[in-house]
Every structure is written in C-alpha cells, then in structure tokens.
C-alpha cells in the first residue's frame, strides 16, 4: 500500500479481488462439465435418449397396436402406412420394434438397478467388515465369478419359466458380482481415511458410516459400472429371447423380434434389420456413455 497507513481500508473495487468469482461446483456438476466436452460421450447420450424417447412415444402416436393383426397385409415391405413394414401375421413392425424397445429397455434398467443394489450392499458389507467375513463373502463371489454366467441365466430361466418378471430376476441374480467386487475395493480403500475415523469418533454407527460416508464416496465407480451393465443386460435379454427363453408372443422384445424374423430371412430381411439396428444402436450408445462417464467421473480410471 502506498503511504504510511497499512491499516487503511481497501477501495471497494479491490475488495472483491479476494472473492472466488467462479461458482463452486459439486462433484456431479464438475463431472457433467467434463462429460459435455467429450463428443463421443455426447453422441452416445443423444443416441440413448432418442431410442428411449422413440420407444416411449412410438407406440402411443402410432395408429396400430403391437398385437393387431391384418392377415390381408402380411410381410409387407416398409412403406407409407407401415414405415417398417409388417410381419408374417400382418402386425405393424414399427410399433412392435418400439414396444419391444420398451420391454428390452425396461428389463435392462430394472435388472441393472436390482443387481446394483445387491452388489453395492454385498460389496459394501464385505469391504467394511473385513477379516473373516470379507474372506468368506469374497470367496463366494470368486466362485460365482468363475461360473459361466450366461449358462446360469439360462438355467435360471428354465427354473423360473419364461416371462417378463423372470427375465428380470434371472439377469439381476446373475450379474451383481462385478458390482460387489468394485464396491468392496472402493470401501476397502476409503475406510482407512480420516473422515471415517472422524465419523466414528462422533459416534456414528457402522451402518451410518457405510450408507452415509463410504457408499456415497464410491458413487463414481458405481455409476460407471452400472452404465456398463446396461448394454450387458440388453444383450443378455435379447440372447435369452432369441433362444426362446424370454418374452413370449404377442409381446415382443428386440431379441424375440430378431428370432421371429429368422424363418423368412431370405425373403423379408428387413424384419431382422430393424430390431437388430436398434439393439446395436442401444449397445453402442450405452457403451459410449459409460466410457464418457468413466473419464468424467474418475480421470484416474482412464485407460
């Protein structure tokens, strides 16, 4: 400062120089900022969003229903009235692909959600308990990990019988192990840190520490793993439906639509193309979003 008085008040315009102008960002805002800058990830997000929107709106705006048959107009190629054509029973393929999308996506989201919940709780408990409990719990996970999981999804479907709920249960019951492993690793790392000790000193219960401190701090890897599980679930669902263990007629899923088209593939290939394109686009979109999320949420995980 010029002059002798070191205690003179700053002029008003300089007073603001100490203030942090940029608004502070939460973890998720920061991640979203990074995510937005990634063109592949944004492309994936747009792809996923448009597929979800189409599946939600498609059946509602169409004048046909997924089960309505028109036996005079079977196997019609794509045209003005039926934009994706009709199938062997004269059902509108566009509505069927969109309804199938609803079901495939619903199963994938729900199955992922359930298996995430199982995996997070299981992995969290194993990681936080440590010692012998952890050892036994992770041994079980190791064994399930070695089992060819698709085989078990198939056996579970045989056991439960076909149908929407059962597919959900089969996928959810089989694919939670990956999540359990990741959450356990995260919790193992975090539980040694000071903030856990601080919470413990303040008298927080073990359950509170796990649910309020450890799991929220592992949210990044959990989200990334969950996003990566969705395309896996789309694939498993369509695979099961394709070999005849999934959704049964007149309902449809992308996999069962592919399977239905096989008989007349040579003459009416478009009946395969449309559901197949949607499966591929959904898998691609979710994979891109997952990759983008991984880069955005945890730069250390970047490969």
């Amino acid at each position: 400062m010029t002059g002798g008085d070191r205690w003179e008040a700053l002029p008003p315009e300089l007073r603001l120089s100490e203030k942090i102008i940029r608004p502070s960002m939460t973890y998720l805002q920061d991640a979203w900022r990074r995510f937005r800058k990634n063109p592949t990830a944004m492309f994936g997000l747009v792809l996923v969003a448009s597929i979800v929107l189409l599946a939600l709106i498609g059946p509602a705006v169409s004048t046909h229903s997924y089960r309505e048959q028109d036996l005079n107009r079977t196997n019609e190629p794509p045209g003005a009235e039926y934009i994706f054509g009709t199938d062997s029973l004269g059902r509108d393929l566009f509505v069927r692909v969109m309804t199938g999308g609803r079901i495939s996506l619903l199963i994938s989201f729900m199955a992922t959600f359930i298996s995430c919940a199982i995996g997070v709780v299981y992995g969290g408990l194993a990681g936080y308990s440590g010692g012998r409990t952890d050892n036994v719990m992770m041994r079980i996970v190791d064994i399930i990990w070695t089992i060819p999981l698709m085989l078990y999804a198939i056996l579970l479907m045989m056991w439960l019988g076909t149908g929407l709920h059962n597919i959900l249960i089969a996928i959810a019951l089989v694919y939670w192990v990956n999540m359990a492993r990741i959450v356990r690793g995260q919790v193992m790392n975090l539980k040694e840190q000071e903030f856990v000790l601080a919470a413990l000193v303040q008298g927080a219960s073990r359950w509170r520490i796990l649910t309020r401190h450890l799991i929220p701090n592992s949210m990044g890897p959990i989200l990334v793993t969950a996003t990566m599980m969705i395309p896996g679930a789309v694939f498993t669902e369509s695979f099961l439906s394709f070999i005849g263990l999934g959704i049964s007629a007149p309902l449809a899923s992308w996999g069962s639509l592919c399977s239905d088209s096989l008989g007349a593939l040579r003459s009416y290939p478009y009946q395969l193309f449309f559901p197949a394109i949607f499966i591929c686009a959904a898998m691609l979109g979710f994979n891109f979003v997952g990759d983008g999320l991984r880069d955005a949420l945890d730069p250390r995980l970047r490969r």
Binding site: I143, Y152, F239, C258, L262, I279
Partner: protein, 306 residues
C-alpha cells in the same frame, strides 16, 4: 510355486462342486418335472417312467447317484431321446464344436493381435481410426445378429459361402466370424491399449536412448509386455465362444454341443442340459486354471501378490 498351483487347483475344484450341486438341484426342482407334457400323462405311465429313470428315489439319493456317475464320467440317459445317453450326445456333438471353437480361437488371435499392434504403431492414422471403428462396432453387434446378417449377405445374396454344415473350409468362414466377432474386437482393443501403455514406460525410453532400432523397440521390448493381458483374456474368450456357439450353431445348423444345448432347452431334456452345462463349466474352469498357471509362470509378480 507349488503352493500357488495347489491353491488354484483347490479353488477350481470347489467351484466345480458348487456348479454341479447348483445345476442338479435347480434342474430337479423345476415345477412340472421332465415328463410334464401338453397332454395329460396317465399316472401309471408317469410312475413307470419315474421308476425307470430312478426319479422316485429321495432327492439326496439321486444326487449321490449323479455325483457317483459324474466321477466315472457317466452323465445318465437322455429324458427325451429313448436309448440315448448324454455321453452319446456329447461324443457325437463334441468334434464339430471343438473344430469350430479351435478355428475361431486361432482366427481371433491371428487377426486380433496383429491388428492391435498395427493400430498402436500407426497411432491416429487413418488405418488406426478404421480399425478402432470396426472394433467398437464389433463389440456392439450380438453374435446372433452377426450370424444372421452374414448368412443373409454372403450366402443368400452373394452366394460366396454355404449356409449350413461343416464339410469344407468354406463352411467355417461365416460361423467363425460370427462366433469370434466380439472377441476379435476385444482382443484388438486390448492389444492396442496395452501396447500404447507399454510404449509410455521408462524402459522404452531407455531402449531408445541406447539406440535400439525402432522396429526392435516395438516388437522386442513393448510387444512382449503388452501380450500379457491377452493371456488373461483366454478364459473369457473360451466362455464367449461356448455361449456364442449356442446361437451360432443353431443358426448355421452345425450339429455341435451348442445346438444340442438349445434343442434340449426347447425339448426340456433336463439331463442333457445338465450334462452340457457341467461339461461347459469344466472346460471353462480348466481354461481358467491353465491361464492362471501360465500367468504365474510368465509374470512372477502375480505369485508374490497372492
């Protein structure tokens, strides 16, 4: 090393025991039983059938019998095909599956590894971008879609390759691509990224500073380390080939184990399904065990860690 081998063998044996038990009890608790059909089966017939296949004994006796049979590799009779045992079905279908699996395996490694190396060496060039695009695409197309698309394009339209069977080398081309497409993409990406990671290591800089020619830096120093992750992928690769073969063999009408597996699902032939599941699990576990051992041999750090 001996301790490492013993602990791995033990954990694989435990896994197999769990698989056998789980499969057995799941298959035996399916509501309706194996002889439930659309039309009512008279109770007397049902009783005779159950006595013939020893299904009238208590469950734990059946389980003990099954495990005893398994130890001498006797998987019991088929429930649907009269006079045919599960062993017969495996003996009859194994060669086709094994041939196709081996061809696919070689195809994936023979194309995937060079493609990955090339992509890493020519980083960010046009060929690299093309390879990466193909690899991303290959990972999103399910095997059943790929199989049917290949049949439509190359068999129905262009008529270059035959649609079904496994008689000449031409018969192998399309099924191997359909079966290996996903793994091929995965291996390519894996080799590329681990090659690039190896290129960033200090010992590469040392090698360059010593004046080692660039060609040798790539193929002697970087490649050797970047192939280790590929060895780890062999287990999952066999798993994808096994499960992929369910649809690929069905679509291409190849009389292999995958086709019998899917057929036994539709026929509700529980013993065949059980036998094939257990066989697949044994194959996979053996592969994982071999990979673990190789891994322990080539990378001593693994042994120390465990």
């Amino acid at each position: 090393m001996a301790r490492f081998v013993i602990s791995r063998v033990f954990s694989i044996a435990l896994t197999l025991a769990v698989i056998v038990t789980l499969t057995f009890f799941m298959m035996h608790s399916i509501p309706g039983g194996p002889f439930a059909q659309d039309k009512e089966v008279p109770p007397e017939v049902l009783r005779v059938l159950e006595a013939k296949y020893r299904l009238d004994e208590p469950l734990y006796v059946q389980y003990a019998n099954y495990v005893k049979g398994l130890l001498v590799w006797d998987l019991g009779p088929s429930f649907q095909k009269i006079g045919v045992s599960v062993n017969d079905i495996i003996k009859q279908s194994m060669p086709a599956s094994a041939k196709l699996g081996a061809v696919t395996f070689v195809f994936v490694l023979l194309i995937g590894i060079p493609a990955g190396i090339f992509s890493a060496v020519k980083r960010d060039s046009f060929p690299d971008q093309a390879i990466r695009f193909m690899a991303t695409l290959g990972q999103t197309i399910p095997s059943f879609v790929l199989a049917t698309l290949l049949i439509y394009i190359f068999s129905s339209r262009l008529r270059i390759f035959p649609t079904f069977g496994l008689r000449t080398w031409k018969h192998f081309v399309l099924p191997a691509i359909a079966l290996g497409g996903y793994s091929l993409s995965f291996v390519t990406r894996l080799v590329r990224s681990s090659m690039l990671e190896a290129m960033g290591q200090d010992y590469i800089r040392t090698a360059r500073a010593k004046g080692v020619p660039e060609f040798q830096v790539f193929f002697k120093h970087a490649l050797r380390n970047s192939l280790i992750p590929v060895v780890t992928y062999i287990g999952p690769l066999i798993a994808t080939v096994i499960t992929g073969s369910f649809v690929v063999e069905k679509v291409f009408a190849i009389p292999g184990m995958g086709k019998f597996f899917v057929d036994s699902i539709t026929n509700r032939d529980y013993t065949v399904l059980m036998g094939l599941t257990i066989l697949d699990a044994i194959l996979l576990c053996a592969a994982i065990l071999i990979v673990d051992l190789i891994y322990g041999l080539i990378d001593p750090r693994i042994r120390v860690d465990k």
